[in-house]
Amino acid sequence: MIIATLSHRHRRAGVLCAVLIVITTLIASGIASGTAARAADPQQAEYYVIEPLPIPKDAYLEASALCELPGGRIAVASRRGEIYIIENAVHGPIEKARFTRFAHGLHEVLGLAYRDGWLYVVQRPEVSRLKDEDGDGRADVFETVVDNWGITGDYHEYAFGSQFDREGNLWVVLCLTGSFSSQAPFRGWCVRVTPDGKMIPTASGIRSPGGIGMNHLGDMFYTDNQGPWNGTCSLKHLVPGSFQGHPAGNRWYELTNAIGPRPKDPQSGSRIAIEAERIPQYVPPAILFPYKKMGQSASGIACDLSGGKFGPFPTQLFVGDQTFSTVMRCYLEKVNGRYQGVCFPFLEGFGSGTLPVLITRDGVMFVGGTNRGWGSRGNKPYSLERVTWTGKVPFEVHEIHARPDGFELTFTKPVDPQSAGDPKSYALQTYTYIFQASYGSPEVDHTTPEILSATVAGDRRSVRLVIDGLKRGHVHEFHLDGVRSAEGRALWHREAYYTLNEIPAE
């Protein structure tokens, strides 16, 4: 039966239908109010202040993308397809922040980037660019830049967009159709959109991204989530031409020769390290976020380019977790030509499920949240918060570097040589995940390496651990309960998870 025939029946019911009107703004104002979620971490406020932005009562702002605009303004998009521009958000009292609706009617916006007077918007069906031509503060041009990927009507087919890279490309990661299949072109791929509006297929093997962002060198990363071929959530490096692990989207190699021939499919039930040797195009996750320990749904990525205005972690990456309502901290290094590194717990207690994360050039972090469809610890339906550093340096592990026979840990403050030089102050175990076609994986192949020695450097800023039993391909989980600062304080965060894909030769 076809729609035209059905619609005849509506003719008489017209008046009745018109009465069924609910005003959405009423629903919104009822839930959005209330106090900020309280961080359970008592130390956090010493170092970072989290303040909710005064979202207007009539905006239901399920924050889904953020970017910095000229003139100290911030653009924020919502899953309901609106874009707001916020003035006075970065500095000064938070109550002074002023929201103006710039656009509406877009389809699940998950990427915002600004260039030359245009606001580029990555929405589900396309990359568009928006402009306010008549100067009334609202967009009136909605120009389609690229819409060459397929969508089928499945809610899961999200498209996350990056900031512009150094060549002026916008990178878009395209979620699969659901978790297991790719039913329209380039689902499960990363594509680049060039300044002249061309789409270049760039990497395959993507499952379900939660965010995409660059490090300080302009290399692009995205987060992928636990599910098929992803034993746990992770941060992955989008090397052009790479395969990121989930083979469902590989059918689209037949549509493009941009990145060479289709790679071999991975073997289900295997391990990441084993498949990385079998499949040359496969780039293992740079950082695995151990499930339930670091989070459950890795999301937005931001790099601190403020040169120290956001605390003692310049050039590190900050990654959200939607389920845990947190922001994690990541340090990456290159070993044998590939990125790998460590993640640390960082900020917690955000109002809703963390999705986009932005750090402005002058070191202020913005964190947006939503928990529609996927629950989160932060129990508000949506949130937008500002994080500022108090100026006080926390005692934290700053970086962890892999060494041929162990690790080198650097600290944000001088350590107490007694405790930091005692191997018993550290606990270490390793494990990995099954690389498999079914959903997720438990931790497997546990080992407990022995810490043979801990040597504190002369400046007391680093400790060298010599370890028997490093496990290539394993997460190395550190607990540094015994380490004290020179002032006698314990670490703010005592856990660290290093993904040791490669062991350096020297």
Binding site: I2, H104, L106, S128, F142, T152, G373, Q436
Partner: protein, 967 residues
């Protein structure tokens, strides 16, 4: 638990690799060679082979998956083979075997020993003809291990001279087959293929392995034997419905099967090779029809064989046709009734003649007819087509001795007759000889059959007349039944060496009065091993779904991962579950996890009921902090309700709540918690779910024991959990928490238009709906570059997309919804006779360029079609009734002038377009249109439809078309 697909290179007894069943679950696992290869030449008891047999160590290592091959032994995690029970393993194994082999039926056992044995009673043999085929019974009595390798039935009467022995087994066969009716097998092809799917999904593979697949050859697989030789289909169907009527000790549990499922399974298992035949051949066609076309003249898009009239074979939901062909087997000549029902059209052919027809586009409608048919094979065909909306096709038959049922049961893809022969290759015919019955009865009693098998004769149970020593006075040595070659006077169980050793160890322990007490974990373990609970559940790291069977455990909601497909652990089950609920599970099975395909079957309280107290005794803890809340109960419940709802912890995002489905994954129903769980466990579990279920997706709502909701009950985690429990204690009567019933979110344009980009029903996925304050609305299809829908009054309800994850396509909310022709309004045609292109406009290489808003915030859609740029703008058009639309299309050439180009504009399409006054046309008596353009519209007839088109020729300079719509 490790989750790894099966390894393919299992070895059969003859050393050749086993063929993999072609429909086994997909696997890309690497080969492994360390796979147990086992001969089914001794009683195969899964609990023994898994924990005490010669393969026990290797099976435990195999649970680690391929990594066990890759890693050094020292790096492998510890893997206990069997639980540590403070009793020598051989004695535990002996207890397990002595119960499963029913030793105590000859060698009387008493006291603790009797309790520990939990003896498995042999099958009840009354009315045996109702189930089994006589040829099998004969060969099985004669030589059980060769008729059914791996059986626990011993060979008896070995002391008789060969001729006498043959006479005795023949007589016993006639005695046993004298009661009941054996029916020849007539397998139903489609039923067998459904049965196979059921066998895989229900959990049968957990114990048996899939026939023809390496899993069936694992040492832990309960052998099925050749079921087509053993059972007749109806008999197996009866057995599957009520297995405990004949096997009361319930090693085979009862699954909740309806008659059809039991029939399907029986057809699959006992149908033999005939059941593997295909039912139909099919050809699929893609196209748009109003009536059935002649498919034989069209080129199919796909073809193949089908198990039934399966419309999904078309590969799309709308605009397709299917032709099914097969051969109908009519058992007896007579008058048969056929019924054909469909949405949209269909036709049934029998013997090359169209006998029934329900043609055209319509909702489901059904017709029937009667035909006289000869016995034998008749070619049939069914044609079907679908335009849009629902799709259904039913084809049924009724006739002499046949109640009305799907025709598919009697159809095969090839014309060979269906076998109805009572014997299978290599079998002798069987005719019951009543004269042998008394001798058979005599042998049955004398040979000791009645010791194990219940059998009544003349209304009385038969008695065992064979004497044996009591268990306590048996010699702890490999003699008698336990000798490597047992003497001819005793039954021969074909025991393996480790089995003999275990039984000797048990006898020694009995003699030495060193038997453990029937209590605690020993009883739990023995019971779980006997009933093979370990095939699905692990307990304390022992057992659980085996590596090779793992892929057969399927979940409906894949996103739930292993939790949605692997049965739960029984570690701490006596702490977790209420005693009355455990008793309920054992008696009735369970259906609380609808997302899991595998079902918890019924074992019967008389068989496993003792586990209720035993699990409780070993597991139960009372350690939760349950504070007193100084509030009336109704207030505590309201707080619990708030916590569970969308404004607080949102438990209902993942958990179903009674009849309300969760918006995310659909985890176990919250209204069942209080009837299943102990409150003390619930409190501790919610504080740290990971501690109880490592890797669970269940979040810690109170991370580190702290509440994220400071303003409820003072932020006290324990009090909040208690409030949730008190609230959930209302079970199905608990008040519905917030967030379950989707709210309407009607978008109402007030001062300016509202744009809504999303999935709109009737459009491709790139939909853009526009609601104008003037109460007229439209939807533009950015895949098709077409104005797709127009309607009046209410705009759209965003509730579907703005609550939960937003799955699905949303129809317009208002009235008078008209769908306009699909495809872009512009196309280059070779001439006015060429049909309008059917593909979506973007698939033809055209581009959507976005839209601009004017001063009134009304959009102008921008796109490029066939060399021109189009600006497509609509304004509300006042009329006497609801407003119409005035659509202005500005067309600009994209490139230089092209004299060859013949651009057309399609203003309307429909079944009937008539001309009215003042330039107006009426389309299908619903829509009035008028076009203002430099050229005159032409009415044309294409493929049974009418179209109003404008021939624009070569576009050299910008031109404007204005079209008015009133409806």
């Amino acid at each position: 638990m490790l989750v790894v697909p099966p390894v393919e290179a299992l070895r059969a007894a003859d050393g050749k690799p086993l063929e993999r069943a072609d429909d086994a679950p997909p696997s890309t696992a690497r080969d492994a060679t360390d796979v147990p290869a086992v001969d089914f030449d001794h009683p195969m008891i899964p609990g023994f082979e898994r924990f005490y047999g010669p393969f026990a160590e290797r099976l435990a290592k195999r649970q680690l998956g391929p990594i066990a091959e890759e890693l050094d032994e020292e790096d492998l995690p510890p893997r206990p083979v069997r639980p540590d029970l403070n009793t020598p393993a051989e004695v535990v194994a002996g207890l397990l075997l002595a119960g499963e082999l029913n030793c105590a039926s000859c060698h009387a056992a008493a006291g603790d020993l009797a309790e520990l044995l939990q003896t498995k009673q042999a099958p009840v043999l009354d009315q045996l003809g109702d189930r089994l085929r006589p040829q099998f019974v004969r060969s099985f009595v004669e030589a059980p291990q060769s008729a059914k390798p791996g059986t626990t039935m011993p060979t008896v009467a070995r002391h008789l001279p060969p001729a006498e022995r043959r006479a005795a087994t023949e007589a016993i066969t006639h005695f046993l087959m004298a009661e009941g009716t054996s029916v020849p097998n007539a397998p139903v092809v489609a039923a067998a293929s459904r049965g196979k799917a059921l066998f895989r999904q229900l959990g049968c593979v957990a114990c048996h392995g899939l026939p023809g697949h390496p899993t069936a050859e694992l040492p832990t697989s309960v052998p099925l034997g050749d079921l087509a030789r053993k059972y007749h289909i109806l008999g197996l169907q009866r057995f599957l419905k009520q297995p405990h009527a004949t096997r009361p000790s319930a090693r085979m549990p009862r699954f909740p099967l309806d008659d059809k499922q039991a029939r399907d399974l029986a057809n699959y298992l006992a149908g033999g090779p005939a059941a593997a035949r295909d039912a139909l051949k099919y050809r699929a066609y893609h196209g748009v029809w109003e009536k059935l076309p002649d498919f034989t003249k069209l080129r199919p898009t796909a073809e193949g064989v089908a198990g039934g009239f399966d419309l999904s074979l078309a590969g799309r939901k709308d605009d397709f046709g299917l032709r099914f062909e097969g051969f109908l087997h009519i058992p007896t000549a007579g008058k048969y009734q056929f019924a054909l029902g469909s949405d949209d059209g269909s036709r049934l052919w029998i013997d090359g003649r169209a006998v029934l027809e329900v043609d055209g586009i319509h909702p489901y409608s059904k017709r029937s007819t009667s035909l006289r048919l000869t016995a034998g094979v008749h070619p049939i065909a069914v044609d079907y087509f679908e335009r849009g909306g629902e799709e259904v096709l039913t084809v049924e038959i009724a006739g002499p001795g046949l109640p009305q049922q799907s025709l598919i049961s009697f159809v095969t893809a090839t014309p060979e007759p269906i076998e109805l022969e009572p014997t299978l290759p290599g079998e002798e015919p069987f005719t019951l000889r009543r004269d042998l019955i008394p001798a058979g009865k005599e042998h049955f009693e004398k040979l000791g059959c009645a010791a194990c098998h219940r059998k009544t004769s003349g209304g009385k149970p038969l008695q065992n007349r064979r004497a044996a020593k009591p268990f306590a006075s048996l010699k702890p040595a490999p003699v008698g039944c336990l000798a490597p070659k047992p003497p001819a006077e005793v039954p021969d169980y074909s025991l393996s060496e480790p089995q003999r050793r275990a039984l000797v160890a048990l006898i020694a322990a009995v003699r030495a009065a060193a038997l453990p007490k029937p209590a605690g974990e020993l009883v739990n373990h023995l019971t779980m091993a006997r009933f093979n609970c370990y095939a699905c559940h692990d307990r304390n790291g022992i057992g659980g779904v085996e590596f090779d069977r793992n892929p057969f455990f399927e979940g409906v909601i894949k996103e739930m991962g292993d939790e949605g497909r692997i049965p739960p652990t029984l570690t701490g089950v006596g702490d977790k579950l209420r005693k009355d609920w455990m008793a309920h599970l054992f008696e009735n099975g369970a259906a609380d996890r609808p997302y899991m395909r595998t079902r918890m079957p019924r074992f019967g309280r008389q068989n496993v009921g003792h586990l209720v107290d035993s699990f409780a005794a070993t597991d139960e803890k009372n350690a939760a902090v349950i504070p007193r809340i100084d509030l009336p109960v109704h207030r505590i419940k309201a707080i619990g309700r708030h916590l569970v709802g969308a404004d607080a912890l949102s438990c209902i995002k993942c958990h179903n709540f009674g009849k309300y489905k969760a918006t995310g994954i659909q985890a176990i129903d919250l209204t069942t918690m209080s009837r299943r769980l102990r409150s003390d466990w619930f409190h501790r579990y919610l504080l740290d779910p990971q501690a109880f279920r490592p890797g669970t997706r269940m979040p810690a709502a109170w991370p580190f024991g702290r509440s994220t909701i400071p303003d409820v009950l003072g932020g006290d985690a324990h009090a909040q959990i208690h409030a949730v429990w008190v609230y959930l204690s209302d079970g199905p009567k608990a008040a519905i928490p917030k967030g379950l019933i989707p709210e309407k979110m009607v978008l109402v344009p007030k001062d300016e238009p509202i744009i809504y980009r999303n999935f709109i029903e009737g459009l491709h996925p790139r939909g853009i709906a526009v609601g104008y304050p003037e109460k007229v609305n439209l939807a533009f299809d950015a895949d098709d570059l077409s104005l797709a829908l127009i309607w009046h009054n209410a705009f759209i309800d965003a509730g579907r997309h703005w609550t939960g994850r937003g799955q699905g396509f949303q129809p317009p909310l208002g009235d008078h919804v008209l769908s306009l022709p699909r495809g872009a309004a512009f196309a280059v045609l070779s001439g006015p006779d060429q049909p309008w292109p059917e593909k979506p406009a973007k698939a033809l290489g055209n581009r959507f360029r976005g839209y601009r808003l004017d001063k009134l915030r009304r959009p102008t859609f921008l796109y490029e079609v066939d060399g021109v740029r189009v600006e497509d703008h609509c304004d509300p058009l006042p009329t006497r009734f609801e407003p119409g639309l005035k659509r202005t299309l500005r067309v600009t050439p994209l490139h230089g002038p092209n004299a060859e180009q013949r651009l057309f504009y399609r203003a309307a399409a429909g079944k009937l377009i008539t001309q009215d006054q003042d330039g107006w046309f009426v389309v299908d008596e619903m829509l009035r249109i008028r076009v203002h353009a430099p050229v005159q519209p032409q009415l044309r007839q294409v493929g049974g439809r009418q179209e109003l088109i404008l021939s624009l020729g070569a576009v050299r300079k910008p031109l404007t078309i204005v079209q008015e719509y009133v409806w």
